[in-house]
């Protein structure tokens, strides 16, 4: 009994120490994994599926928790041990999302990694709608989708191109506007624009200054109308422009079509709170995006907002509406004014024709 009282704690301590040593040997730092998996020679060896793009992976939230958080059975002797490391299930961390997804129509067709590669996935708020649509297009042929929507949706191609699918196929009731800086690629008008990279934007500011200062000049973390105006003034000469895209306010995985989305006026009507709310997404050095709030109502502003972002019936300018109505009123005043005088002087014009419309 006496020996056991001494030995048991000693063994326990030894066990803990050995375990701790064993575990520390098992936990592989991200850089150590990427030393092999981030090397493109993995692809040439015929095992391209083992390649992890270090740049893209570093930008993910998953990279912060480390490789072994999901591949927890990896040993210090990997890959010499010839054991295939385990893979965590998404629901271990994302259970509410998985539950929601399993209740939808996509669950039978695709698993989480079919759309969200865990080694490249980024937070929803920094992913552009165009990027989201790329995922959808992997199963849903774009031309077919445009044709199908064209049966009922005017300008189907424009809608499909300008909106992420989940704007309508969503559980989110509201939407916001995400703004991106795009840069012209090539000199010809048809060469088109693509999202500006961090390096392209960094070239426009002094070294060491955050790239967000390209628009957010005072660095207060909010893009004002004045800052938008300054950006637009210089944008053309820099071969850049601001691009806007509607996004659901909240990302859901139901993909159901909300009834109100069949009604065009859900989007094409003025006074929507969503159009008051917009954000500017700026790419940072690590491939992530910084989201900067934009002054309320900026996308509605005729002169200082995004010139190429316009939604009929929604982003109309109140000032222009008033000017237009004043023109119409002037036209309506002529018959009123002339007609009144005509009526009052009718006796002077007996049998006198006058003509001209």
């Amino acid at each position: 009994m006496h020996y056991s009282r001494v030995l048991v704690p000693i063994f326990a301590v030894l066990l803990i120490m050995v375990s701790a040593g064993f575990i520390s040997a098992e936990v592989a730092p991200r850089e150590r994994c990427l030393h092999c998996h981030g090397n493109r020679s993995v692809i040439s060896s015929g095992k391209g599926y083992l390649y992890i793009d270090p740049h893209k992976f570093t930008a993910t939230t998953h990279s912060r928790i480390g490789c072994s958080s999901c591949h927890d059975s990896v040993t210090s002797r990997h890959p010499a041990d010839a054991l295939r490391p385990s893979r965590a299930s998404c629901k271990e961390c994302h259970l509410p999302v998985v539950r929601e997804y399993l209740g939808g129509i996509h669950a039978e067709k695709a698993a989480c990694p079919d759309c969200h590669n865990p080694h490249t996935v980024r937070p929803a708020e920094v992913v552009s709608g165009a990027d989201m649509n790329v995922q959808c297009a992997r199963c849903h042929d774009n031309a077919g989708i445009i044709k199908k929507h064209g049966h009922w949706l005017p300008q189907a191609q424009l809608h499909i191109t300008a909106l992420p699918c989940i704007t309508c196929h969503t559980g989110s009731q509201q939407y916001v506007i995400n703004l991106y800086i795009q840069s012209r690629h090539g000199d010809k008008p048809r060469d088109g624009y693509a999202p500006a990279t961090h390096d392209e934007l960094a070239a426009l500011v002094r070294p060491g200054v955050p790239v967000s200062r390209v628009i957010d000049a005072d660095g207060d973390g909010v893009v004002s109308l004045e800052e938008l105006r300054t950006f637009h003034r210089n944008a053309a000469t820099r071969g850049m422009r601001l691009w806007g895209m509607m996004m659901p306010e909240k990302i859901t995985h139901t993909y159901r079509i909300l009834k109100n989305r069949w009604d065009c006026t859900f989007c094409h009507a003025s006074g929507s709170k969503a159009l008051q709310t917009s954000y500017l997404a700026i790419p940072d050095q690590d491939g992530r995006s910084i989201r900067i709030p934009v002054e309320k109502g900026a996308v509605l502003d005729l002169l200082y907002g995004t010139p190429d972002f316009y939604m009929m019936g929604t982003s109309r300018s109140s000032t222009l509406s008033i000017i237009g109505l004043a023109i119409v009123a002037c036209g309506a005043m002529v018959p009123l004014f002339h007609g009144t005088l005509r009526f009052l002087t009718r006796k002077k014009r007996k049998d006198t024709p006058h003509g001209a419309a």
């Binding site: 949706l153 009604d263 995004t306 316009y310 982003s315 509406s321 002339h338 003509g355």
Partner: protein
């Protein structure tokens, strides 16, 4: 009662164009109101119905405009004669006609202009229709065409200042047309009877004063 001579002022192709154009412009105006202010006005039911009708009417007006121009250039050959004001029109005619409408008309003085098939518009009409047919209508058609084809013509739209500016431009011209519509319909009632000019645009025959 005054005696009236009849002259054939509006040939059949022009009358067909006029009424087709009138229907098109009114349709464009009403659908345009719903498209811009859907929460205040709903004449055509669904928003997309208003958009589709607006697009269709726009195409009809555009094609009829081309036919109108083709008729005046290639068939009648009187386009410039009828629509372009002469130096005399600009020098004296405009003022004379304006004074007539806003002053002498009320005292029963005769209209200084007598329409003929080759000179059917008075100087004020010439200037107005010149602006409308050769400036505003082409501009509203071109801007409407660009807005109808945003995807394929995106670069052109950006080159002219962006979609937002283009839409504002389209809207303001449309407002000018609506303003003109009020004046046009009203002036059409200034014949020897309130419907004399309208009747002329329907039958082609205009009744004139017998000297």
């Amino acid at each position: 009662m005054a005696q009236h001579d009849k002259i054939y002022l509006n040939p059949t192709p022009i009358r067909i164009w006029h009424w087709l154009n009138a229907l098109g412009i009114v349709t464009l105006t009403l659908t345009g109101i719903q498209i811009r202010w859907p929460e205040f006005l709903n004449i055509f039911g669904a928003y997309k119905a208003a958009v589709s009708l607006h697009n269709t009417a726009g195409i009809v007006v555009s094609i009829s405009y081309l036919l109108w121009m083709a008729y005046y250039i290639f068939v009648a050959g009187t386009l410039l004669k009828i629509y372009v004001p002469t130096a005399e029109d600009l020098k004296h005619g405009l003022l004379r006609q304006a004074i007539f409408y806003f002053f002498f008309y009320f005292f029963g003085k005769p209209n200084p202009h007598t329409p003929t098939p080759d000179n059917k518009f008075n100087p004020l009409q010439k200037v107005t229709y010149l602006m409308i047919m050769f400036l505003l209508l082409p501009l509203v058609i071109i801007s409407g065409f660009l807005i109808m084809n945003i995807g394929p013509l995106r670069e052109v739209i950006i080159a002219v200042g962006g979609l937002k500016l283009l839409d504002g431009f389209h809207y303001l011209i449309a407002c000018c047309f609506t303003a003109f519509l009020f004046i046009h319909v009203y002036l059409a009632t200034l014949g020897h009877t309130p419907f004399a000019h309208t009747k002329s645009m329907w039958t082609g025959w205009e009744e004139e004063d017998k000297p």
